[in-house]
Amino acid sequence: MEDIVALRLEETLRRYPKSRSSLIPVIQDAQSILGYLPREALLKVADYLGVPASAVYGVATFYAQFHLTPRGRHQVKVCQGTACHVRGGRSVLEAVKTELGIGPGETTADRKFTLERVACVGSCSLAPVVLVDDRIHGSMTPEKFRKLTQVSAAKERARHRVFRIRMVFKIPAADTPLFKKNAACAGKVIPETAPYSFTGLRQV
């Protein structure tokens, strides 16, 4: 873990009492800072709370909300609930898989998309549906999805500059100009929420 990230994690930890009951909120916070839960972060949490690392890992793997691998910038969720299923949800999923070149639970090599299959998002009247981040796209077809990704890619290019800030996982050596610039940006962009979460960035 890079120093700045480690520092932010430590700051977060200090806000919580050293007790097992803090575990879930702590790793929720850790994930919102880091975008996912890397091994070192979980070890740090375990060490701070005095909870065995295996128990932290158990909780982090139990809940669907926690991720142990880096996530894409966009979360694509393809519904496979009953309503979506009868209206062709499966072929939508196949198309999404082909289009992104990844399976459910995976992230594209460029870290742009993470694909997940979900079971009902409560929008059955629009079935079949696909969620891209928090937005629901109804009556989905393979064609429509291809278009959607193209639009998203265009938007992405427009935002590219902003995203770059988030992508600075590897902090350059201290005292170099790039380091100072990144550190300054990181501080500015994200006052409260995470430097690497999508919601955080949208507030810019």
Binding site: L42, L43, G50, P52, A53, S54, A55, Y57, T61
Partner: protein
């Protein structure tokens, strides 16, 4: 006692018991998988559902407490139907290849299925991933057979306090795994193997334990002073299985990795199988007659030429009470000298001296089990979870089950600090200052136990004269512990209802060892924590029988039972019993003996089961002494570093090959039973001592070990009521003065053994050698979990070698930076006495300014470096502090 009815059968249940426990106790089988008597009720497997009149649905018997008058239906169709479906679901998810499973016929799932009459699987097989983890040297984790009862998980968390594994993921994917699903050997697993014994099926199974034993022998673990009961499974003159002995409790007896898996040394091909005699500089096999005649001849010649005091003997804390008793009797009566000592000199001599002066007895005041009910536990200078793992379980349980407060004073961040409220990270050797400051706070805050001080103790005034100058601020400057932490810990300790003090080598192995112990005794008395249950002072004894060897008088200044040779009445009584006149003058201690060799005062040495060539401080000097001594006889089970210097080597028997008793750290005398014959020509040590004694004109006639115990009981009042017959029903804690006495769980009840507890002033003195410009770091030595002492026993088990890499020296990251050392570097450690090469482990475990080197390994003999400066009264060397410098080694090996 609640009375309930199970399937029409009246059953008397224990109060607070569950329906399942009551049924099983009454001999009614109720199918179950997740239940284990040692663990909290869980209700996970749902196989033990029962019908209880007046209760809705089918409650799980294992989570339902009994109530008087309860009517339980277990073996009825409605219940069995539900159980059958549950069992079928479990079986569908379990790789059932029973014939090729080592758990066949011991499998609890098999038993449940048979009980429920399941004869075919109706359900589609599950999709459980077959992951087999064979990384641990001692056991296999085969998750295709796991039934997710989580016994292993709960045991690891609840009882062992380790938590190496947990249930991960959910639903069909749920499985038991270590953190990040690494191989178990890379996790925090301590390899105790208790989960293996707890597994109801074959998912966890030991390697190298395929053969079921033909015979079970109950005995005692040969490693540390915890004195855990073992059950050895024997087949064809080999130990094929080792379990904890739960005979007394009905629960799973906890062991550590050494006791459970570390007994390979017994059948090691390196065992000595015949006597050896040095011919032209080489040790060559010889007959017993030759060896004994030569040994007896050599000793007699020296005795007759130079007098009996030219001979000295080292008895052994690894040998039985009977052997130690005979050994010292041999030295005193057959040879005629008090020059007999053993390795207690190197570990708890300061305890025997210090607690003796303060309380009147050097032994641990209370019992290990009582720790669980203490309100506060102060652990100082003891890495309990590695050096005394099973005692540490009690400390962990006190914290996690009862909410006791744990205070740790240790320069290293030992594992137990995970459970601690305060970790006082003081500089090595500053213990007295720290303790004085703690007492300073207690008195200035008015938290001392006035009544106890007035009624039970004396001389507090003179102790106070020293303590009053030791404010926490003054102590902070010396110890490096923040004054606030000293205050907090002191108040916590003083306010606790029952506070126990646990200590070990970190306290005793200093030139101020006796002062350290006296300061701890002062602290215990100041807070009124002596003579009551679950409080007291716990010096954890290092060896399986170091307590016993001391009790038996294998000490130069004490006759058996801690009686003074100078006391005419005492001496006369022993002279009557042994038929010889006995020496009055105290003999030489082990540490002084080696000096005397150089001065030519000691010419012959008889060493039984000790390895000073690796265990004594400044070993290059020790080796020179062993070389110089005219005549050296070593009796051991291996050709140790010490035996390699001998003129005659006599092959003894290991713990598994003889009868006898060990006395553990809580004064509990326990039976050691013979399970195997000694290999080759090797003989039981009792036989050897007797044969030697006979050849020196002092025959000792005992038909067996039991007869020796009869003599011990007759001569040592605190062992007066101990006999092999009584020990059949479990151990007895001395003092046990007569045949009807139940033993003494804690000492000093109602009054100290010496009358009044005595305070001693303990002014702070610096260690003999502190870091300076030339040697800027402080070296401390100690034990690791996986090894024991000089490794003579533990290093014969290959698996233990893989678990602890030999030759690592712990260096603090800050120091590593200063001295240009990176993790994994080959480094050179130098002191004024020698140099050792080791691999650097850069870790925050070590305090800044100190390095830590275990003393188990001949590759990195820590005692080449250590200082042989002695505590003036106890003559214990300062193993824990010396000055060294560390630098990268020029040529990597």
């Amino acid at each position: 006692m609640p009375r309930i009815t199970i399937d029409g059968r009246p059953v008397a249940a224990d109060t607070g018991s569950t329906v399942l426990a009551a049924a099983l106790k009454a001999g009614v089988y109720v199918p179950h998988l997740c239940f284990l008597p040692d663990l909290d009720p869980y209700g996970g497997c749902r196989l033990c559902v029962v019908e209880i009149e007046g209760m809705r649905g089918l409650p799980a018997a294992c989570t339902t407490p009994v109530r008087d008058g309860m009517v339980v239906h277990s073996d009825v169709p409605a219940v069995n139907h539900v159980r059958r479906v549950t069992a079928e679901l479990i079986i569908a998810d379990h790789q059932a290849s029973c014939l090729e499973c080592t758990s066949n016929q011991r499998c609890e799932l098999q038993r449940a299925a048979a009980h429920l009459g399941i004869d075919q699987s109706r359900l589609r097989p599950g999709t459980r991933r077959a992951v087999k983890d064979t990384s641990n040297p001692f056991f296999i984790r085969d998750m295709s057979k796991c039934v997710l009862c989580t016994r292993c998980v709960r045991l690891c968390h609840e009882i062992r306090g380790v938590g190496a594994i947990d249930v991960i993921s959910r639903g069909y994917d749920a499985r038991v795994a270590p953190f990040w699903e690494t191989p178990i050997v890379e996790s925090t697993c301590e390899s105790c193997g208790m989960c293996v014994d707890a597994c109801p099926v074959g998912a966890l199974r030991p390697k190298n334990e395929q053969l079921p034993p033909a015979e079970l022998v109950r005995t005692v673990c040969p490693y540390c002073g915890c004195g855990c009961g073992l059950v050895l499974g024997v087949r064809g003159k080999k130990i094929v299985q080792v379990r904890g002995d739960g005979f007394d409790t009905g629960k799973q007896a906890q062991l550590c990795v050494k006791g459970r898996f570390g007994l390979d040394f017994v059948s090691s091909p390196e065992r000595l199988t015949s006597p050896l005699i040095r011919h032209n500089g080489k040790l060559e096999p010889a007959s017993w007659d030759e060896a004994l005649a030569l040994a007896a001849g050599g000793f007699s010649r020296i005795r007759d030429t130079f007098g009996p005091d030219a001979l000295a003997g080292f008895a052994s804390a690894k040998c039985t009470n009977e052997e130690n008793y005979l050994f010292q009797k041999f030295m005193r009566a057959a040879v005629g000298t008090n020059n007999v000592d053993h390795c207690a000199r190197l570990c708890h001599a300061s305890t025997v001296a210090g607690l003796g002066m303060a309380f009147g007895s050097g032994a641990m005041t209370n019992s290990v089990a009582e720790l669980e009910n203490a309100d506060c536990i102060f652990v100082i200078g003891s890495n309990t979870s590695e050096a005394h793992p099973v005692v540490a379980l009690r400390i962990k349980a006190a914290v996690s089950k009862r909410g006791a407060d744990l205070i740790i004073a240790d320069p290293r961040r030992i594992d137990l600090t995970r459970f601690a409220r305060f970790h006082l990270r003081h500089r090595c050797g500053a213990d007295v200052m720290l303790l004085n400051a703690i007492m300073h706070v207690i008195v200035t805050e008015g938290l001392e136990d006035r009544d106890f001080l007035d009624e039970r103790t004396e001389n507090f005034g003179s102790a106070w004269e020293v303590i009053r100058h030791c404010s926490p601020e003054a102590a902070e400057a010396v110890t490096g512990v923040p004054a606030g932490d000293i205050r907090g810990a002191a108040v916590l300790f003083a306010r606790a209802g029952r506070a126990a003090i646990v200590y070990s080598m970190g306290v005793t192995q200093h030139v101020t060892g006796t002062d350290n112990v006296l300061a701890l005794a002062n602290l215990a008395m100041l807070t009124g924590n002596v003579g009551i249950e679950s409080a007291g002072v716990y010096p954890l004894r290092g060896q399986n029988n170091v307590q016993g060897a001391c009790d038996m008088g294998a000490l130069p200044d004490w006759f058996p039972g801690y009686r003074k040779p100078a006391d005419n009445l005492v001496r006369k009584s022993f002279e009557r019993a042994w038929g010889r006149s006995l020496p009055e003058k105290p003999g030489l201690t082990a540490t002084e003996t080696l000096d005397a060799v150089f001065k030519g005062r000691i010419r012959g040495l008889y060493i039984m089961g000790e390895n000073p060539a690796l265990s004594d401080p400044n070993v290059s000097r020790t080796e020179r002494a062993l070389e110089k001594v005219d005549f050296l006889v070593v009796q051991d089970i291996f050709l140790t570093e010490t035996a390699a210097h001998a003129d005659i080597v006599l092959p003894g028997a290991s713990f598994a090959e003889k009868d006898g008793t060990f006395t553990n750290t809580e004064r509990r005398v326990q039976r050691v039973r013979k399970a195997l014959p000694a290999p080759g020509e090797a003989k039981e040590d009792l036989w050897i001592i007797r044969a030697l004694s006979e050849r020196m004109g002092y025959p000792m006639i005992y038909p067996d070990a039991a007869a020796v115990m009869v003599e011990i009981a007759a001569l040592i009042p605190i062992y007066g009521g101990i006999s092999y017959e009584r020990l059949e029903n479990g151990g007895l804690q001395w003092p046990c003065p007569d045949g009807s006495h139940p033993g003494t769980p804690f000492l000093h009840r109602g009054g100290f053994i010496r009358g009044r507890g005595r305070f001693h002033p303990t002014p702070y003195r610096e260690p003999a050698e502190l870091p300076d410009a030339e040697y800027p770091l402080l070296l401390s030595t100690g034990r690791l979990l996986h090894h024991f002492h000089t490794g003579t026993l533990s290093r014969k088990t290959g698996g233990l070698e893989t678990l602890s890499r030999p030759g690592l020296v712990e260096v603090n990251p800050d120091d590593a930076e200063v001295f240009g050392i990176r993790d994994g570097d080959r480094v050179l450690i130098e002191s004024r006495r020698g140099r050792v090469e080791a691999w650097a482990a850069v870790t925050g475990r070590a305090r800044q300014g100190m390095v830590f080197l275990p003393f188990h390994f001949r590759e990195t003999p820590a005692n080449v470096l250590t200082n042989d400066a002695l505590d003036p009264s106890a003559k214990i060397p300062e193993f824990k502090v010396c000055a060294v410098r560390v630098k990268p080694a020029s040529v990597p090996l």
